[in-house]
Symmetry: C2
Subunit: 501 residues, 2 copies
């Protein structure tokens, strides 16, 4: 049996190597490729995708899985080996349950739909996108049915993006979070303290911003011997293990755009770099889930990078690195500016507090769409109403409303909730960190950033995919995921920043 | 039969797509990859190499080739289709004649040997490398025997790197070239004109060198919408069609190092970009041979880029682009400096005239090694003697002698001669260009660089691999490859520069 297990893991490793190649092709496309290369590249990507699919659905894998699990010695496998088997089986089932004709059709439809979405968004015209949205919605329902016909489609999709999750569990987390957030926003808006964000828009030359980025990567222990930083229109992270690549974009008149992107992507990047070397190329040695991945980026960007303790030591260094540009700025004004709470239209530009409402809005919409309670024809209007209700803002263009995100055009229904779940996990991890290291703040104030990064690396990142997300959170914090810690974190932080009681 | 032909070409295209992926992996390794990624990358490359080998030796290809060529309608195929069949058959035969165990062993030995070569070169110690050189030499003989047991090994290798070539043909080209070159060098050295290369070592800031590179790429019609320029320790070109990537390296105290590297690699790059779009992904639509590829880089770098006509118009522009650094330099002094003839130890740093002797030396050595006339133990001493005889220089370290090139460590015996063959082809093409466009020089002096690049693109580059190199040269110039044109070109050019009669 051990021999079969080894063959199976060899096959799994090969699939991961193919995945690494696919990631390089994707990275190069966004960051390096001359634009004329696009057709050539799409053929390379299609080839690799087909190759990967063939390997993933190789019936030999199914056979090995069966033989191993039915073998009398199966119970002698270690927990890690069993978890590997479980993860390989899960992926194999997902891949083989989908008829390959359907996958091809789905991929084709999603490419067209994404093109139409781009067109619609740039023309501020929902009608162009609507028929394609409907097709993608119907096909995604079908997709979910192939995977599990016994569960409601949306539950299948939620579990697909975040193992262990469903509507019920999300409701339990999002409902209290929504209530608390709406209340907190009102309090912030009612406060006499009005953070001045314009301080952040002073011109910072590109070269200085790059130095800042380098300095921050070093502080976060993002390893440039095993990673890179490049420029991309929409920052992202790719790669794994010893070759991880993060990206940012520079705005001369808003250094925070790059600085916090570097922290965010740096969080993703550190996770990928810090996965347990002993478990590389094993399913258990990969990242756990989208939500856990996002918890790392949010932890580095928000919990660490926007904290008052971090800036207590870093502001002086920042002022030096940026020359005289910010010499006159006071600590209080600075940390209030980078944490300004302000309801706005666009999710990706939202602050730490209002962001979650953007996500909850999308979750509620998706949930209701799959429950048949929302007619897709009315999405733009419903969007306007919900934005007004939840965030108090007026949506005037569909481009800034229902058309702002790419996700639905590719059929990624059920993905959005993992973003806020990342915030939930992150705050819960942080609450445990505070228990473990009560003097974390005084140490961070002295510049010991690794007090936080070492803890999260050891407790979360190194554990890779040894557990499904809810279990991982339980093991790390002693409790299943709960919105309580994020709510408390935000209430405490913003009470201080906005002088609330 | 047409159906079988189409399937065959579909398979060939897939192999090329895999090749493109391999090229991207290689490019990224040299130019972008963080150094920690090396092990991970080698697994990706090994996977792709194995995949390519499997596809290349797919017995289905052999079956299709046989069915097509034995089909009664075979003669109805067009010349291009027949050439595709021929090229696919040639590659298939090469790939399948080598036992895969042997290929694996050969690859393994070459990796170790290359490591040992690096060590030996940096320690200036031939003994470290010697046993590995012997292994590679013996294995390469075996390699050649697998490919064709009926021909002398070195002839097989020469034909492998340059279809249509063998020892006899090289002798016919290299012997007169050697004689004429030795004579020309003596004359140049005896001249009262002593070019002052130190003019070229004035410091030119990196930013200016980059602008120069961009300007030159534009002049050569290297298309940056379908290509890139990056930095690499050893400049190279990779990619094809609509995604071609060239590299250079910058030396603050020698701008020519980058400038002529950009022209050289730009020549390679233009070739890859200008292959006939109608024939992309067909074997006939690829580059013809190593020698023809080199003829393009040498044409752009030397025949065009170091010509007095080019600098007649470009020197003023160059002076403007470089600020005041070269304001005082005279045209004559400049073109003499960039064309200075000076025997030296290192091939890759040699000038246009002495370069060919470096190659002929290697050719003669390889030829004699395979003929059993040279004992590998004595290579360092033979090297010293030959360098003294041919170039009049004293080799004091093996690192600057027999250990200077990487080629033999990887088993690439028979490759060197293609470099000088590139010069031979290039001069022969140029002689025809002069016939076709008698006013080429007055037009180039006005800045019409495309008079040369359009001609070479149309006559050589676009023809891809429609013919084997000797036939291609015959079709373009009306004559099979002959050393006459290179000899005349060099004699005329350097007689002018050195004021010889």
């Amino acid at each position: 049996m051990k021999e079969r297990y080894d063959i199976l893991l060899e096959k799994t490793k090969e699939i991961q190597v193919i995945g690494q190649i696919a990631m390089l092709l994707g990275w190069d496309t966004e960051v390096m490729m001359p634009k004329g290369g696009v057709i050539q590249r799409s053929e390379q990507q299609a080839f690799i995708a087909k190759l990967a699919h063939g390997k993933l659905t190789d019936s030999e894998i199914g056979k090995l899985l069966k033989e191993i699990q039915e073998h009398p010695d199966y119970d002698k496998l270690s927990d890690i080996e069993k978890r590997n088997i479980y993860l390989i089986q899960r992926e194999y089932d997902r891949q083989t349950k989908l008829p390959s004709d359907f996958v091809a059709e789905y991929t084709r439809a999603s490419v067209i739909s994404t093109e139409k979405w781009k067109e619609a968004r740039s023309n501020n015209d929902f009608e162009t996108f609507k028929p394609h949205l409907k097709i993608m919605f119907e096909m995604t329902q079908k997709y979910a049915n192939y995977l599990n016909p016994d569960l409601p489609s949306y539950d299948v999709l939620l579990d697909l993006y975040e193992p262990g999750m469903n509507r019920e569990k999300y409701n339990e987390i999002f409902n209290p979070l929504k209530e608390a957030t709406v209340e907190l926003i009102q309090k912030c808006q009612g406060s006499e303290i009005k953070p001045d964000y314009s301080l952040m828009t002073r011109e910072v030359p590109l070269e200085i911003q790059k130095e800042l980025a380098n300095d921050v990567m070093k502080l976060l222990s993002y390893d440039l011997e095993r990673g890179r930083l490049d420029v991309a229109a929409h920052p992202f992270t790719t790669g794994d293990y010893d070759d991880v690549r993060i990206t940012t974009r520079y705005n001369i008149n808003d250094f925070t755009s790059s600085l916090f992107a570097v922290m965010h992507e740096g969080g993703h990047g550190c996770y990928d770099q810090n996965l347990d070397k002993e478990l590389h190329y094993q399913p258990v040695g990969n990242y756990c889930s989208m939500g856990i991945h996002e918890s790392q980026s949010r932890f580095y960007e928000n919990i660490l990078g926007r904290s008052k303790s971090f800036w207590w030591f870093y502001l002086d260094r920042f002022k030096k690195l940026t020359g005289d540009i910010f010499a006159d700025i006071q600590y209080d004004d600075f940390i209030r500016a980078i944490n300004k709470v302000e309801p706005s239209l666009i999710r990706v530009e939202a602050d730490e507090v209002t962001y979650n409402l953007h996500i909850i809005l999308r979750f509620e919409l998706e949930r209701d769409m799959f429950d048949g309670k929302v007619n897709l024809d009315n999405l733009p209007e419903i969007w306007v109403t919900k934005m007004k209700d939840m965030l108090g803002v007026d949506v005037e263009n569909v481009s800034d409303g229902v058309l702002q995100d790419i996700h639905w055009s590719g059929g990624s229904f059920g993905y959005f909730p993992t973003y806020t779940l990342g915030n939930v996990y992150g705050a819960q991890f942080f609450a445990k960190l505070i228990q473990d290291i009560p003097d974390w703040d005084t140490r961070l104030e002295k510049g010991e950033v690794n007090v936080l990064t070492d803890w999260i690396s050891e407790n979360v990142q190194k554990r890779g995919n040894l557990y499904d997300p809810p279990e991982l959170v339980k093991i790390v914090t002693g409790e299943y995921p709960s919105p309580k810690y994020l709510i408390e974190f935000l209430q405490e932080k913003y009470s201080y920043l906005y002088g609330l009681d």
